[in-house]
């Protein structure tokens, strides 16, 4: 008697839906084990992580705030993965978007132009798109794989930001802290709710959901992207350009990540600092997969991931648990998802060993 994996005739629709939830539950259980090992009551810790942030209106608005960059980055990443283009440098594109958008804020903020904020958003998206266009060029012209180039450029972007806030853009009245001066009011995204930090960036991110869905499932461009990703030989046969798919998905995801960056700068942060994101660009990879690479799924997944960030902060405050604990849970989440996803196309069967034995 032994266990064996057997291919299913049809992929299981049930597992397709169930898998992310299963993964979330397993990751929560895994998190409980981690908390127990760290010497905390797992029930209390898990309640703090997952429930406490949802108990207050303030918590809910913070959830939307944290979900914004995750959602923007993850949608771009998902469009890419659908086309088999792996942009894992959203963190860098986000950083560059913060730099370009923030540059506009520093240059024109406070002068009272109506166009300052729109220009910042545009510059942020353009900056991110530019940073992603480099790997697109290197991939299509020189065949250099985007996984490595996008990631390497992330490290570069973060160093460039570090140089700017330590050097040329440092706040002259900031006691030599590595940060720029605060953005003027007209260079800040309007908040949605008086007293909360949730801002108009959240609406932009929400808007991206139906747009991405329409793109993927209702346009010829989306169909071509999916074909290139699913079966490159079929795409060549059909005459769909693989290079076009690389350019389109990288520039799109770069622009979305850049937008996320400027929204962070012109939102909760309000200035440029050496680190504009606690790893949103990387966590967005998990969000994209957890959301089944589907825009609506990604919306839910981004809220869950935002909850992890938020709950992680609460844990730090109330139980003095390290923020790294939530990083571990994030990793487990993706692992469990990939493991449970295996059962979409396969199932476990019991066998009794070879019949002729």
């Amino acid at each position: 008697m032994r266990l064996r994996l057997e291919a299913r005739q049809q992929p299981s629709q049930t597992m397709q839906w169930l898998s992310p939830f299963l993964a979330a539950v397993l990751a929560a259980l895994g998190g409980g084990v981690v908390f127990a090992l760290l010497g905390h009551n797992p029930a209390t810790a898990l309640a703090t992580l997952f429930l406490a942030p949802l108990a207050t209106l303030d918590g809910l608005t913070e959830l939307g705030l944290k979900a914004t960059p995750l959602l923007l980055c993850a949608i771009g990443i998902a469009v890419g993965v659908r086309a088999n283009v792996w942009n894992i440098g959203a963190e860098g594109q986000l950083t560059l978007g913060a730099i370009t958008g923030g540059g506009i804020a520093l240059a024109f903020g406070g002068e009272g132009h109506w166009w300052t904020l729109p220009l910042m958003l545009f510059a942020g998206a353009a900056g991110g798109a530019f940073w992603a266009a480099i790997p697109a060029l290197l991939r299509t012209k020189f065949n250099a794989h985007e996984i490595l180039t996008t990631l390497m450029l992330s490290y570069v972007a973060i160093q460039v930001l570090g140089w700017l806030v330590h050097g040329p853009w440092i706040d002259p009245e900031g006691f030599n802290f590595p940060q720029t001066r605060m953005f003027a009011d007209d260079a800040m995204l309007p908040v949605l709710l008086e007293g909360a930090r949730l801002n108009a960036g959240f609406l932009l991110a929400l808007l991206a959901v139906p747009l991405a869905w329409g793109l993927l499932s209702r346009t010829a461009v989306g169909f071509r992207l999916r074909t290139v990703g699913q079966a490159p030989a079929a795409a060549r046969y059909a005459g769909f350009s693989a290079n076009g798919a690389v350019w389109f998905s990288l520039v799109l995801s770069g622009a979305l990540a850049g937008l996320a960056g400027v929204c962070e700068a012109a939102g909760p942060v309000g200035q440029l600092q050496p680190l504009m994101s606690p790893g949103y660009g990387f966590a967005a990879i998990i969000v994209a997969f957890l959301g089944r690479l589907h825009p609506v799924g990604i919306l839910s997944a981004s809220l869950l991931m935002a909850l992890l960030y938020l709950g992680g902060e609460q844990l730090q405050v109330t139980l003095q648990l390290p923020i790294a604990a939530t990083g571990t849970i994030q990793g487990m989440l993706l692992f469990f998802l990939l493991a449970t996803d295996v059962f979409i196309d396969q199932r476990l069967v019991f066998t009794r060993g070879p019949a002729h034995a």
Binding site: Q9, Q10, P11, S217, R218, T219, A220, V221, F223, R224, T227, Q230, A231, A233, A234, R236, Y237, A238, G239, F240, S241, P354, A355, H356, A357
Partner: protein, 501 residues
């Protein structure tokens, strides 16, 4: 005399499909035993069971009278079973000697092994060089490496799976000489094929499989090709009917096309010229790996050439991509079904869009799902595709039905020129018949059809003219009535381009 190999009641099930159902078969020492059956009759599964690659669900295997369990290929080799696979089990980037060493599971030094290879090769007239890399060998040479690897183990039973499908007729004759000699030395041969004439010429016993079951046993020397075919198919043979066609003006012309190979181990096309006329079927014969893939890529637009090198109805299209050529009336049925002609994970509706994304299905770049679904439903109905509906995934269809869908999709586009690569490869006989008929009908309706196939019988059945591709060069096409299998065989072997002796 005790049978060398006896199978009793072998059954193997894959999901809902019974690949082998209660198969009983016995091979005597020194016998060349044919295992005959259509594609999908269960021949390959049965042989994999004998070789220990696949485990049966039920049944007994007896080797020289003793029941045995063949757990894996190593066990099979230990018994004395050698197998030459249809798709060669060779490592392209390794040398002949390394390949043989891996197949033998031996630990002897390479130099010793190389000497032994030379000796056995000479003994059986199998010329190969031990130090060469497999990727540099021709298909025929690779088969020799496979056979050599088996012979070095001094097998008592040699299994060959469709060995002549990759050989020229002359190479096949050489193979038969070697097999007869091996049999005379006492080695049993299990010969899997669906080619009736060669079975009649070579084999001394035959077991016929249909739908996984043994349906007949016979001595093929006493049968006719017709009677063997009827055993194989379980009914009288049906033939395609050739509607009268008017051969018209050239619709596809290639002039002096030379194109360097674009991937490792590819073939360079050299100075290819051809003219396809409206209403005719032009067959391109040849052994795989002689430039078929490259020629089709150059014609379909997956690879570009000089604009004037390829003319479609007089218009230069050589520099255009596949979608642009398709828009001008050139359709293409590729060799691989899933992954190229269709996407396994897509629904039939999505697969219909693959080559039919136009102003009707996607006006202004927005998909019109109603139009797409109607198209897919029409293809399914018109070409008799058996499926659970247009939302069925590509991979849920049988090979024959998927191919009917792809062929139907391309024919339904009303092309002026249709390129078809191995259109009936690996499909059941019913679907093959329907596909050949569809190609004949399309030509009769005035389109030019170019069929690339390794199956010479198929080309002789449907083509009007045949040209042979060998070493990246294309011979001048000849009307089918004026050709002979031997003549084509010589061209397949590259005779036309060999330096004069």
């Amino acid at each position: 005399m005790t049978a060398r190999l006896a199978l009793v009641g072998i059954t193997k099930r894959y999901g809902a499909m019974l690949a082998n159902n209660d198969v009983t078969l016995s091979v005597a020492p020194g016998e060349i035993h044919a295992l005959l059956g259509e594609n999908g009759a269960g021949k390959s599964t049965l042989m994999k069971i004998v070789y220990g690659v696949v485990k049966p669900d039920a049944g007994v295997i007896a080797w020289e009278g003793e029941p045995v369990v063949i757990a894996d290929p190593n066990a099979a080799r230990a018994l004395g079973v050698g197998m030459v696979f249809q798709h060669f089990s060779l490592f392209e980037t390794l040398t002949v000697a390394e390949n043989i060493a891996l197949g033998l599971g031996s630990t002897q030094p390479m130099a010793e092994l190389a000497a032994e290879i030379r000796q056995v090769a000479a003994q059986y007239g199998l010329a190969v060089e031990a130090e060469r890399h497999v990727h540099s060998l021709s298909v025929g040479e690779r088969q020799r490496v496979e056979i050599l690897r088996c012979l070095l183990q001094r097998p008592k039973l040699l299994i060959l799976d469709e060995p002549t499908s990759v050989l020229t007729p002359q190479e096949a004759d050489g193979l038969f000489v070697m097999l007869r000699r091996l049999a005379a030395e006492g080695c049993s041969v299990l010969y899997i094929s669906h080619k009736l004439e060669e079975i009649r010429a070579l084999c001394t016993a035959a077991t016929v499989l249909r739908a996984g079951q043994v349906v007949a046993r016979c001595d093929p020397r006493l049968e006719t090709a017709e009677s063997l075919a009827e055993m194989m198919m379980g009914g009288a043979l049906t033939h395609t009917s050739r509607p009268p066609a008017q051969v018209g003006a050239p619709c596809l012309a290639v002039t002096a096309l030379t194109l360097a190979a674009d991937e490792p181990f590819g073939t360079t096309l050299r100075d290819i010229s051809l003219e396809l006329r409206a209403g005719e079927i032009l067959g391109v014969a040849g052994v795989a790996g002689n430039g078929q893939k490259e020629l089709l890529a150059a014609l379909s637009g997956e690879r570009r050439a000089a604009a004037g090198a390829v003319l479609l109805q007089g218009q230069p299209i050589g520099a255009l991509g596949p979608a642009e050529r398709r828009a001008r009336g050139l359709a293409f049925i590729p060799e691989e079904r899933l992954g190229r002609g269709a996407v396994a994970e897509f629904t039939l509706a999505e697969n219909a869009m693959l080559t039919r994304l136009d102003a009707r299905t996607a006006p202004h770049g927005l998909l019109d799902l109603g139009a797409v679904n109607a198209l897919a439903a029409r293809l399914v109905a018109r070409f008799g595709v058996r499926c659970s509906g247009i939302l069925a995934q590509g991979r849920s269809l049988s090979g024959g039905n998927m191919q009917k869908f792809i062929v139907g999709r391309e024919i339904d586009a009303q092309p002026k020129v249709l390129l078809a690569a191995h259109p009936t490869w690996g499909v059941d006989i019913g679907a093959a018949l329907a596909i050949r008929q569809a190609l004949l009908d399309l030509a009769a309706a005035g389109a030019g059809v170019l069929v690339v196939s390794e199956d010479l019988d198929e080309l002789l059945e449907i083509a009007d003219r045949i040209a042979v591709l060998s070493g990246g060069r294309l011979s001048a096409p000849m009307p089918v009535g004026e050709t002979s299998v031997e003549g084509i065989g010589l061209l397949m072997g590259g005779a036309a381009h060999a330096p004069a002796a």
